[in-house]
Symmetry: C2
Subunit: 321 residues, 2 copies
């Protein structure tokens, strides 16, 4: 099958973002190793610029625009981190950016997007489909749409997460990532399988946001109603057209976790690793803690995808415990 | 003057703790660089074992006990992190440990100390002096007292923080650390001045916990009543007998910050760097943000001393903002 990206696209993206994106550290925790029976390696994309891996793909995609495309400006739709990634990349590259966001996106993410100088167009997630809103803005204003995941340069950029992790920990047995649109996992699985063909890949989503899990079951891109989950980064309704074939080909299984398990994983990251993950950033760890079945002692890479949390939400989660 | 430790004591401690203590990462933040006008390098001892730098000194001191001393067991007094450092080090080295703690020490720290297998003896901070309580336990049970800071092997162990930081960032202009008993700063200033003689050193304490500031003013070891500050790691009442001469000799100035400034620094570390610092762990950053006067663009090392916070306290602080 002809997949949307190759390993070379990922290594090219790595060259493009070198020195601009942070080469994020890999952390470990004896406590979590003891709890899981694995050697767990956390790739900390919460330390990435804009606080999430999304900067990688965004910067790669904007860098590859034609001169006319750069001059015309870009538009995208996002629940937050992709928006910030595009907004900052646009600022760094001198491109104007318009972001279509749902009205219920976290305040912290909206404000950060505005702070980077991007224009925000809001829409109601229950009434309109974000793809249609951004298509409208795109045509009205003659902008280039940078899709948050279904875009080869975005997918390749996100794949640099796995490229770096496998450079630091070459003998990884398993790699676990959250899956929303599939940009992160399609890129990472492309890179990981090229570097270590026998690595096992897992995507994790929440039970209410199970479009990938259903799609794996039914072997087609299943569409679900707008999901209600604390993991706002993976509230997608259908696997991407370009990401699905890659993930279906390379990923072993989709694991499902509950919102409560995600919150518990967030708390563990905070109290044990001393790092702040947003709910989506804790989804992969929740999968490892509750669903993964790998051999004892396996070296398991876990992508902490982002760290942008409203302080109020965080306080509420901590009080709940 | 004959100081309690030399640079060689610090390098020897580094050999002792190598492979046992974590070599903690150094993080940076473009946002904080922009806010301060400095290049700030955060030495993240919140990622250290037991969640604080205290493990370094504790493991170094216990490793250097005589065989008889190891067999007899140890006692110490601590508001928390030193207790955990001793408890874990004792466990790793097969030594029994008794910890004298104030009744108002954070629950998380007490529990962690118990979890490492140490025995806790509680006392009321308003009624008794901890040194006297531990001296009593020491003589009754024939244990070796490991003072939390006024001890050459403790001081030397804590100095490895600066040794590592200056290995990673050799051209540091300034180093800023919280100061309670003075173990961390005496060790770090010994190492830092040996490596880079023109480095400027600063200690930071809270306004209510100003024993070092007063001591620098009056040029003697001033004793203050039990201080009330959110930074529970620096609630000491008097500079140490061994630490004072070192700090007085090598440190430029003691900076004072308010509890509110400490909380604000904690929030910045959490929301911008995505790392969890306990109040004492944010004291040095509070000093840099509010009191430090260094040349623009200076390379400033900031020690994030620990990350052990009660979840309830953290939630309260976040809600306040």
């Amino acid at each position: 099958m002809n997949l949307a990206i190759s390993f070379e696209d990922v290594t090219r993206a790595a060259e493009t973002i070198a020195g601009v994106a942070n080469r994020t550290p890999v952390l470990t925790s004896r406590t979590i190793n003891r709890m899981t029976g694995y050697e767990v390696y956390f790739k900390c994309e919460n330390f990435q610029r804009v606080g999430a891996f999304k900067f990688r793909g965004a910067y790669n995609a904007l860098s590859r625009l034609s001169e006319a495309g750069k001059k015309g400006g870009v538009v995208t739709h996002s629940s937050g981190n992709h928006a910030q990634g595009i907004a900052l990349s646009a600022k760094l590259l001198g491109i104007s950016a318009t972001i279509v966001m749902p009205t219920d996106a976290p305040q912290a993410k909206m404000q950060a997007t505005r702070d980077y100088g991007a224009e925000i167009v809001l829409y109601d997630r229950q009434l309109k489909i974000r793809e249609e809103v951004s298509a409208q803005v795109e045509s009205e204003r003659d902008l280039t749409l940078i899709h948050p995941y279904d875009h080869p340069h975005i997918m390749a950029g996100q794949g640099t997460v796995a490229l770096e992790l496998l450079t630091d920990v070459p003998d990884l047995d398993v790699l676990v990532a959250p899956i929303g649109g599939g940009g992160l996992l399609s890129g990472c699985s492309t890179a990981a399988k090229a570097i270590k063909p026998d690595i096992q890949l897992f995507g994790v989503e929440t039970k209410t946001s199970n479009d990938w899990w259903l799609s794996f079951q039914q072997n087609r891109r299943v569409h679900i109603p707008p999901p209600d989950t604390i993991a706002d980064g993976i509230r997608t309704q259908q696997p991407g057209e370009l990401t699905y074939p890659v993930v279906r080909e390379l990923v072993s299984e989709i694991l499902l976790v509950s919102d409560e398990e995600v919150i518990e994983a967030m708390r563990l990251l905070l109290t044990r690793l001393k790092i702040l993950a947003e709910p989506t950033g804790a989804v992969a760890l929740a999968g490892v803690l509750n669903q993964l079945e790998a051999k004892p002692g396996a070296k398991v890479g876990v992508i902490v995808s982002g760290g942008n949390v409203d302080e109020g939400l965080l306080a509420t989660l901590l009080k709940r415990g």
